[in-house]
Symmetry: C2
Subunit: 138 residues, 2 copies
């Protein structure tokens, strides 16, 4: 009882749609929106409802399986499958969307002291970096 079987990770059922979504998300090299992912799935003949894509991404976010940013350009939330168990920060190319993980140890260490520095408790941070990748810069 209260046994966590490898077959049922976190109360999440394993449906054809969830698998397809996770697979296509993992295959995407960069951040992608719910709608973009839905379009990709459709292209390859994988029929998944848009609502389902939104829900699956929301659940993946809760399970901390993805990093999320907000596109300044389109206003969409963009998702990327995490490579490590820890959250990461990325530089995203403003032009083509290419993303690259950045070493933010310095910032993380600084952030860890914020509770003392600010008088606020349970301080969390959001850090997004954008620039122009070498291919797009001129």
């Amino acid at each position: 009882m209260s046994e966590t079987r490898g077959t049922t990770p976190l109360g999440a059922r394993r449906t054809r749609q969830r698998l397809d979504i996770l697979q296509h998300l993992s295959a995407a090299p960069d951040f992608i929106s719910a709608q973009g992912l839905h379009a990709r799935l459709a292209q390859t003949g994988t029929l998944v409802g848009l609502s389902t894509v939104y829900r699956a991404l929301r659940d993946l976010e809760r399970a901390e399986q993805v990093d999320v940013i907000r596109s300044e350009a389109s206003g969409e939330r963009l998702y990327r499958r995490r490579s490590t168990s820890e959250h990461q920060h990325y530089v995203i190319c403003r032009r083509c969307g290419r993303s690259e993980a950045v070493d933010t140890d310095i910032v993380e260490r600084w952030a860890a002291h914020l509770d003392q520095l600010t008088g606020f408790s349970n301080v969390t941070h959001t850090l997004e970096l954008s620039g122009e990748c070498m291919d797009c810069h001129l």
Copy 2:
């Protein structure tokens, strides 16, 4: 010719609405949304169209007169008049919205090297901090 008179800052006309908006925004101690500001103006009998508030805030943002964050809770963009000429980062209380400027020199210096560290050009950053202020923490 091509003379920049003090009377015409940046092609922006000085209307009653713009002045009221800037005044009320400056009076607000914390971050406030377009709709919140619009409501505040209405309360004090200052009639300004909601579109006008949105437009004025957009222009203030372009002129770098305000710092902007995105409320995770309401999804709104929140604005705060800048006290200095440089951009700032803040800790915002998740519960009551109180905001406090934070010294981010360390991060700023780190960010200045990102072009070399990442291979991206013109790297800009977004940093948002949220926590619970002393009044709200239990």
